[in-house]
Amino acid sequence: MTAVLRVLAPGLLTTVQDLGRPGYQSSGIPVGGALDPISLRAANALVGNAPNTGALEVAYFGPTLAVEDGEARLSFVGADAQIEILPDETATSGRRIATMRSVHLHRGEVVRIGSLTRGAVLYIAVEGGFAIAPVLGSVSTYLRGAIGGWQGRALATGDCLPLRRAEPSDRDDCEIVGLDLSPPARYRAIVGPQNDYFSAAAIETFFASDYVVSTGADRMGMRLKGPPLPHVRGFNIISDGIAPGSVQVPGNEQPIVLLADRQTVGGYPKIATVISADLPAISRMPIGAKIRFAPVSLDEAEAARRRLVAHIEELPDKIVPIRQSIGELTPRLFDCNLIGGVVDASAGAAELAELQ
């Protein structure tokens, strides 16, 4: 018997995602996968999973999950969130833990995740992964096509997600230290491929203005609101392929950044394309966030990608064990108001050292 996570409340939009489903775009099937693959990789690394293991992607407001039929180790990486561990389903309060760490949950324990702040997505990885069959090589949920993940849809109350393990390994609970998910001042983009559909002034406006992530942002695309980007040759092009990070500008002259679940082809001119190194960072920005772009060359984009890959390779070095006693005491410090505001676990350890 393996453990299961039973969904007591699904959150706003919680889906299973891995690194995506490349290779089927010529059949109209998008790549999909985690909006923020850096956070997904870090969450997997915290519980010793391979980077491409499917995890839960939480958007804006998190789920409440009960551990049943066994025990499980979960990790939480991404936006800030209130995470509370309750002793059972009927409990009204429990201990709070920080994100950026893993935690061993016992049979019957419940984890409740509230609103996300400073980011749109949070990843919950589980040691060993979910026992879910891949579709076309991936467990990513593609909502529009209703394939992959948990029955091709977002989690719903009552779902029981089977885990691959019955109980966690005896590895330590860990935290990840120094993972920087803060937004860059500007998101870098390469002009084109349809920059000839815009005046030089419109391209200048695009790179010189603040845009705001508007409602209607989803896994397919991030709608931005800001100074209009008028077309000089109309806004209908003969449909062509859509690259990750394409910034298309439809008839309303407002840009849309195309994200993980982007359609494979499209018929609006694309003024620029966000570079691959900055795509995870822009994808994790919530509604209301301010976005500003900076033009870069292909060479700069490739150098940035090289740095990102090096950063990903260093993720395991950033993971350190949390001493059990500290892990349990830190939330008590929160409760006693000994520590104000948001503190990470290492700061909690420093406080403890002083108390001792």
Partner: protein, 246 residues
Amino acid sequence: MPEVRVLPAGDTALVVEFGDHIDRRLSTWVLALARRLDEARVNGVVETVPTLRSLLVHYDPLALSADSLKERIVELMRGLQGRAQTTRHWDLPVCYDREIAPDLDSIAERAGLTPAQLVELHVATNFHVYMLGFLPGMAYLGDLPPVLAKFPRMATPRLKVPAGSLGIANTLTCIYPVDTPAGWHLIGRSPVPFFTRRPEVTTLLQPGDKVTFSPVSLREYESLMAEAAAGTLALQPIEERVGVAA
């Protein structure tokens, strides 16, 4: 060989643009290059996406620089001339009954035809699958005969049309593979599953396939739908060999 423009779409994709209009000869080139690139198994090329008039090549810039990929594409283009290739020809049932073809009468009227004449023209057309996109398994086919190739998309899309709906707009026909919002004029519906989720995920058509439509009655449509639901609707394409236009 047509002139091509190679444009960066960010740092992980290149657009190889063969033109800026919908043309079957351009499409043949797009598809021939796609096939050639796939066969060449160029290290660093992740996948290719043929579209109406261009090929999008997804690649990993750390395995293959944009410049080397461009060079490789130019080199492969040279070898394309006159290469014969296999395509598949599908003959697919479509019901053009006005019960399930809500725009048949209005489009026929705007084209100055009777609905029967419209259907006759549509089934007499040898369609070419230019691309798949928008939804899994959704094919864009052309070209419509000139008398039918002059109606732009509807100003207000329908909120939901059933899977198998066959739409026309401008010079193309499309088939909606799942229930979806849709902005094209609906002139028929096919019982064929173009996107299947169970027992495994499959799509029927590929870019480059040839398609003709055979009219079926509403009754035949319903019995074919029952077969499709039971998984017993057997469809076999005919393999054909065609050359690439010089």
